[in-house]
C-alpha cells in the first residue's frame, strides 16, 4: 500500500508547483476583502438614510462578508482545478501509475487542498471582517461581541467547504470546463434566485451555500432558515460528503 504521508507530500508538491493555485487563492482573498470593504464603506455612508427596521436588524459582521458571493467563486475555481487538472492534462495516468490505490490518491489530494483552502479561507474571513469593520465606523461590530467570532471563523469554514464541494464535483465530472460551467452559475445566480423567490425559498434553504451562509450571520431576525448556524454548516458538510463519495465512486469505477 502506498504510504499516506508520502502521497500527501507528493500532492503538496503538485499543488504548490502550479500557478493556478496562487492566482485563484490570492484573488479569492483580494476580491472578498475588497468588495467587503467597499460595501461596508457604502453602508456606513448611507446608514442614516436606511429605514429604521433595517437599522435595528443591521448585521455589521455579515455586511463585511458581502465579498464572499464573488470570493467563493474563486474558491470553487481552485477546488475544480486542483482535481480536474489531473484529467485535462493527462497527469492522472502518471499519478495513478504511481499511486494505484485510487482512494488514497484522491483523498490525499483533497486533504492537502482542503487544508490549504482552510488556511486561505480563515485568513480571508478574518481580514474581510477587520477591514470591513474599519470601514463601518461607528456601526461596526467587535470580534468579542456575542456570535461574532463564530461568524468569522464560520466564514472561513464556509469558503473551505464550498471549495471541497467543488473538488468532489470535479472528481465526478472530470472536465474543468464542465465543472465550472455548472458550479459557477449555480452558486452565483441560481441558488440566490431560488432563495429570493418565496415559492422556492424553503427548498433553497437546504442548498449547500444557503445552508452554509447561516453560520456567518450574527443577527438572524427575519431570516427564513429554520435552523441554527452549526446545523446550517452541517447541512453544507453533508452536501460536501455526498460530492466526495460520488467523486470517489466515479474514480474507483471508471477507466483513468
Amino acid at each position: 500500500m502506498a504510504v499516506v504521508p508520502a502521497v500527501l507530500r507528493s500532492e503538496w508538491t503538485k499543488i504548490r508547483s502550479v500557478r493556478s493555485t496562487v492566482w485563484t487563492l490570492s484573488l479569492a482573498v483580494l476580491i472578498t476583502v475588497a468588495l467587503g470593504v467597499l460595501i461596508s464603506a457604502l453602508t456606513n455612508n448611507n446608514f442614516s438614510r436606511m429605514p429604521a427596521s433595517e437599522q435595528i436588524t443591521f448585521d455589521a459582521t455579515y455586511t463585511s462578508f458581502a465579498g464572499m458571493s464573488l470570493g467563493q467563486l474563486l474558491m470553487i475555481v481552485f477546488g475544480v482545478l486542483v482535481v480536474s487538472n489531473e484529467y485535462s492534462t493527462g497527469m492522472i495516468r502518471a499519478s495513478l501509475a504511481a499511486v494505484p490505490q485510487r482512494g488514497t490518491f484522491l483523498f490525499s489530494k483533497i486533504a492537502v487542498a482542503t487544508l490549504l483552502a482552510f488556511v486561505v479561507g480563515e485568513i480571508t474571513a478574518f481580514i474581510a471582517f477587520f477591514a470591513g469593520q474599519a470601514s463601518l465606523g461607528s456601526h461596526s461590530a467587535h470580534i468579542s461581541d456575542p456570535g461574532v467570532l463564530r461568524a468569522v471563523f464560520g466564514g472561513g469554514l464556509y469558503l473551505t467547504l464550498i471549495s471541497v464541494f467543488a473538488m468532489g464535483c470535479a472528481a465526478m465530472l472530470r472536465s474543468p470546463l464542465l465543472s465550472l460551467a455548472i458550479l459557477m452559475p449555480f452558486f452565483f445566480l441560481i441558488s440566490n434566485i431560488l432563495h429570493a423567490v418565496s415559492a422556492t425559498r424553503h427548498v433553497a434553504n437546504y442548498l449547500p451555500d444557503q445552508a452554509g451562509q447561516k453560520v456567518m450571520m450574527v443577527v438572524t431576525t427575519g431570516d427564513s432558515r429554520p435552523y441554527g448556524p452549526w446545523i446550517g454548516l452541517l447541512i453544507m458538510a453533508l452536501w460536501v460528503i455526498a460530492a466526495l463519495v460520488g467523486g470517489y465512486a466515479v474514480l474507483k469505477e471508471r477507466d483513468a
Binding site: 500500500m1 508520502a6 502521497v7 502550479v18 493556478s20 502518471a94 494505484p100 469505477e253
Partner: protein
C-alpha cells in the same frame, strides 16, 4: 516478469483486447507489435491498472498492479499520450512522482541528467518539444530504478538522434537484466531492438516468438534470376530438380539454392543471365502479411472470420494477396 492471462477489454461493442495470454520476461527487450488500433496502448493501460479489464488479469512479479508497494520501484512506464501538467516544471513533475513512492529527491536530478534535461529542469514543460517530452516521460519511468520498463511507441515523432538514443537505452536496460517491454507499429524498429516479439492484431495474439525465430520463419530469402532465354533456363532448372517461381516482370524467384549454384548451372547450359541477385523479403513485409487480415477488418468491417491462430505466418491467404503483390517484389503465380 509480466504475465497476462486471458486479458480482455471491451469498450461497448468493440473488443479492444481479446483474451491475451503471454509473458514478458526479464533480461531482454520484448517488442509489442501491431498495426495502429490493434490494442497495444489499451493493453499497456490494463497492465498499469489504469483501465479495468473486462476479464482476465495481469500480474507483475506475481502481484496485481494495485497491490504493488510503491509501484514506481517495480515498473516504470512511458505512455503514448503525454501525462504531465504543462504548467509544472520538469523538476517538480518528477519530484511529485518521486515523493509519492518515497524515492529520494536526489534521484530526480539523476534521471534528469540521464535523459539530458538538466538544463531545462526548472522550466515549465509547456514549451517542451515532442522529443523533450519523451525524454521527460522516460526520466519518470526510470525514477524508481525499476526492474520492469514499459515504453509505448517511444520513438514516435523523434528525430534520428533521439531514436538512436532510445534504442541504445532500451538495449542497455535489458542488458542490465531488466524487463523491457516496448510497443511499436513499425517492424523495422522492432527488428533493431527487440529480442522477443509479441504481435497482436485486433486485440488478438498473432505471434509470441523470439525475434530470431520470427526472422527465420518469415524472411523469405530467394535468388532473382533474369534471362532473355526463359525457356532454356526453365528446362535447365527442371533438369536439376530446382523449382522456380515466375515474378510479374518475367524474372524467376528461386528459393533454397545459392546464387553461385544457379550461376554455374546457367554457364553449363550456356544461358545468358541479365540478373543473378540474392534477395531477402523484409520483416516489414512479413509483419504486414501476419497482420493483414486484422487490418482488413478495419477497412471493411466484415464479420470477423475464424480467430487467427497464434502461430507465425501461415500460407499467404487471398485476402492480402493483392496487397502483397503491390508491396512485395512483384511475385505472381506459382509458375515453375
Amino acid at each position: 516478469m509480466i504475465e497476462l492471462h486471458g486479458l480482455t477489454k471491451r469498450f461497448g461493442e468493440k473488443l479492444a483486447v481479446d483474451s491475451l495470454t503471454f509473458s514478458v520476461r526479464p533480461g531482454m527487450v520484448t517488442g509489442f507489435l501491431g498495426p495502429n488500433g490493434a490494442g497495444k496502448s489499451t493493453t499497456m493501460r490494463l497492465m498499469l491498472g489504469l483501465d479495468r479489464p473486462t476479464a482476465g488479469d495481469v500480474r507483475i512479479d506475481g502481484k496485481h498492479y494495485q497491490d504493488l508497494d510503491e509501484p514506481l520501484r517495480y515498473i516504470g512506464a512511458l505512455l503514448e499520450a503525454q501525462a504531465r501538467h504543462p504548467g509544472r516544471s520538469a523538476y517538480n513533475h518528477l519530484l511529485c512522482l518521486a515523493q509519492s513512492n518515497r524515492i529520494p529527491r536526489a534521484r530526480v536530478a539523476e534521471v534528469l541528467d540521464l535523459v539530458g534535461l538538466q538544463a531545462v529542469a526548472k522550466k515549465r514543460t509547456k514549451g517542451f518539444s515532442l522529443g523533450m517530452g519523451q525524454r521527460l516521460g522516460i526520466a519518470a519511468a526510470l525514477l524508481g530504478d525499476p526492474t520492469i520498463l514499459m515504453f509505448d511507441e517511444p520513438v514516435n515523432g523523434l528525430d534520428p538522434e533521439g531514436i538512436h538514443w532510445i534504442r541504445n537505452l532500451m538495449k542497455r536496460l535489458a542488458a542490465e537484466g531488466r524487463t523491457v517491454f516496448v510497443s511499436s507499429h513499425l517492424m523495422s524498429e522492432m527488428a533493431l531492438t527487440a529480442d522477443h516479439l509479441v504481435v497482436i492484431g485486433k486485440g488478438k495474439l498473432l505471434a509470441d516468438t523470439t525475434m530470431a525465430e520470427f526472422i527465420r520463419q518469415n524472411s523469405r530469402s530467394f535468388v532473382r534470376v533474369r534471362t532473355p532465354q526463359p525457356e532454356q533456363l526453365r528446362d535447365a532448372l527442371h533438369g536439376a530438380g530446382i523449382t522456380a517461381v515466375t515474378a510479374a516482370d518475367g524474372s524467376y524467384e528461386i528459393s533454397g539454392v545459392t546464387a553461385a549454384r544457379l550461376g554455374d548451372l546457367a554457364a553449363q547450359h550456356r544461358i545468358v543471365l541479365h540478373e543473378l541477385s540474392p534477395q531477402q523479403a523484409s520483416l516489414e513485409e512479413a509483419f504486414m502479411q501476419l497482420t493483414a487480415e486484422t487490418v482488413e477488418y478495419h477497412a471493411h468491417e466484415t464479420p470477423p472470420p475464424e480467430p487467427v491462430a497464434a502461430e507465425p505466418v501461415a500460407e499467404p491467404a487471398g485476402a492480402w494477396g493483392e496487397n502483397w503483390q503491390q508491396r512485395g517484389r512483384g511475385r505472381s503465380g506459382e509458375g515453375g
